[in-house]
Amino acid sequence: MMKLATFRIGGVHPPENKLSANEPIIRLPLPKQLVIPLSQNLGAAPKPVVKKGDEVKKGQLIARGEAFISANLHAPASGKIAKIDDAVDSSGYRRMAIFLDVTDDEWMEGIDSTDELIHQNLPSSEVIRERIKEAGIVGMGGAAFPTHVKMMIPEEKKAEVLLINGVECEPYLTSDHRLMLEKTQEIILGIRILMKAIDVKRALIGVENNKPDAINRLQQFCNADNGIEVHALKVKYPQGGEKQLIKALLGREVPSGKLPIEVGCVVSNVGTAFAVYEAVQKNRPLIERVVTVTGKKLTKPSNFLVRIGTPMSALIEAAGGMPVDTGKIVNGGPMMGKALPTTDIPITKGSSGVLLVDQSESRRSTPNTCIRCARCVTVCPMGLEPYLLARISKLSLVERAEKERIMDCIECGSCQYTCPSALPLLDYIRLGKQRTASYLRNRK
């Protein structure tokens, strides 16, 4: 057997625990009220264009992203705006959100509501980019970076290849996996649309080898005509990281502090490709996404298609209710996800999963002193020295942190996962990153 490609340095292999891999995607019934946080994307939050008491139709614009890096928001269902007020979102803080009292589920006029596949008539790249922007599409992998910004390629650069991220290297999560199985043709169309938008002839889909069914299914629709190839990759975390994926698929290395376009790539998630298809061919804005609800003690780990703004409690209820000994509720996967203070937090464009960890597994071990074993250095996929960065961050030495390339950290958590002394390495590095970022901003 041929050796499978992967990225070169670092990486870990945590237990996969893909409990919901065989569960088909189920559409969750609409809740009575949706809470749509304004800030769902990286960058500036969009400004509301509706006010209290307004009637909105499903798919209607409710907040417009005016800044350069921002994304539009649309009503996930028809109903009446109850209020625009603060609500706790996944940041753990109360921030501005639009409360929508749901009345029915009728699409706005001008939106194709059928499930029919539309192959023909791909519009021109300007139109595609405009529709992606209008539909408020963001990267569905987790970082929620507005996709239309990614599609704007600087004039002096040239994109050669589109990389599609179907890796889903986070343990437990299966939303991309199910999407690849069930919406294969839509995803392939979405990829063709993205290829046209950035004017490339070749696209590579990277899928980890633990999803052979998805690889087979995608392969059926890939051929020399459309220029799309599927590549099976060795199972290794964090392969889904943009830079790691480029290294694994193309063997190219993105220079420190630069974007993938520097090496001629644009990277997008399979979920994004699906959303792009819906937006361009069906004129549907991004108002729903697939979310994995999982956990070892959960009776029914599932994949749900949910509207943006549905509270996580509704998802947990649909998956069989919260187990009694739940210790932590994590938004996202176990490696990069964030523990949440309550279950009333709404699903946003970037939430890929809800993980319930039981008490025995959720407690952190007591940290010991660093024994200088350098395991964190070995596993760091960015070639950094996490023990050193953590120490520098603790002491707030921002200039030193900048020299040690703290801003290159992708916050994958491999260092903290592997540390035999259970040191909170990533926690401190995140803090240091934030401080360094604000220092760099002020210096400009």
């Binding site: 603060d86 706790v88 753990g92 803080y93 109360r94 964030k338 203070p341 309550t342 407690r363 952190r364 940290p367 603790k394 909170p424 926690d427 401190y428 995140r430 803090l431 934030q434």
Partner: protein, 311 residues
């Protein structure tokens, strides 16, 4: 053999003399002329090197003061909060100047979200750092303005003046506080403020910085300021400012009459080091609206000279 020894010794001596002469001239040429006053000023400073004055250390502060005295003939805003008026007087006398007496300040913790008032809804088990917890979530009690209770302020204090109270989970400032401002900078939520120490160490302040509306604020903490502005209406000295659903007492205008403390429905306004109140009934009978009623009250009741930490 002897010749070699003699030769070596002589060479070394010669080298030493030549270099000494060179060094002498170099030292003359590059002599740093320093005002002798700098040393004198530095001697009277507390040498805590805390940075409370805004300069990297006591030596630097001494240099700046001497420079200011020479150039502007006044000390301006330069002040050593640790040494206080006494040290500043000495500094001024060395420099042949006068200083204005400044109100001594003290750090005040403006949060009353104790375990009892704001019970923990979740438990945080990450690293014990407020700065880290602050970027992660609102806090165990759910108040996004309140004290996180992980002790960044305690770690920042070099005077041992601030401690965590195990029963309330809030930091407590004691008399050792020099108002250097290290804890003010360390607190990611900006809860700690430097306020006037007040007459006889008596202080009144709003022990809350929650800017939310009354409902959400009260939901997370029983002792939150709900922005009802009752205190502002009752204040005879116009010392209370309402902004963002929050009352703030201006310590320059406040005359410590304690009227606001009585009307606060959530007990968010705190008084420190005041003598115990007379029973309310008697108080209202004897003086309905006495001018400076509390002065009289103090005379009747001898002041207990005890130090009470933040209640």
């Amino acid at each position: 053999m002897n010749d070699i020894l003699l030769f070596t010794l002589l060479t070394l001596c010669l080298l030493a003399i030549v270099l000494a002469v060179v060094l002498y001239f170099v030292a003359q040429k590059f002599k740093v002329i320093e005002d002798p006053k700098i040393d004198l000023v530095e001697d009277v400073l507390p040498k805590a090197n805390c940075g409370g004055c805004g300069f990297p250390g006591c030596r630097n502060f001494a240099e700046v003061t001497v420079k200011a005295a020479n150039e502007n003939n006044s000390l301006g805003d330069l002040n050593c909060p640790v040494g206080g008026n006494e040290v500043m007087k000495q500094v001024a006398s060395i420099l042949g100047l006068e200083v204005q007496e400044k109100d001594p300040l003290i750090a005040v913790v403006r949060c009353n979200g104790s375990f009892a008032h704001s019970p923990a809804k979740v438990r945080f088990d990450g690293p014990a750092s407020c700065a880290f917890a602050h970027q992660l979530f609102a806090g165990e009690g759910g108040c996004q303005y309140g004290c996180l209770g992980l002790g960044d302020c305690v770690a920042s204090c070099i005077f041992d003046a601030i401690h965590m109270d195990a029963t309330t989970g809030l930091p407590v400032v004691n008399d050792l506080c020099t108002a250097c401002g290290a804890c003010v900078k360390a607190c990611p939520r900006g809860i700690i403020e430097l306020r006037s120490k007040g007459k006889k160490d008596r202080r009144i302040f709003v022990s809350c910085i929650n800017k939310e509306k009354g409902g959400p604020a009260k939901k997370n903490c029983e002792a939150a300021c709900i922005g009802c502005s009752k205190c502002q209406q009752v204040c005879p000295h116009d010392a209370i400012v309402m902004a963002n659903n929050l009352a703030y007492i201006d310590f320059v205008k406040c005359k410590l009459c304690r009227k606001c403390v009585e009307v606060c429905p959530t007990d968010a306004i705190h008084e420190i080091n005041f003598p115990p109140r007379k029973p309310k009934l008697e108080y209202t009978e004897t003086n309905t609206q006495p001018p400076g009623g509390h002065d009289r009250l103090e005379k009747v009741q001898p002041v207990q000279n005890k130090t009470v930490d933040i209640e």
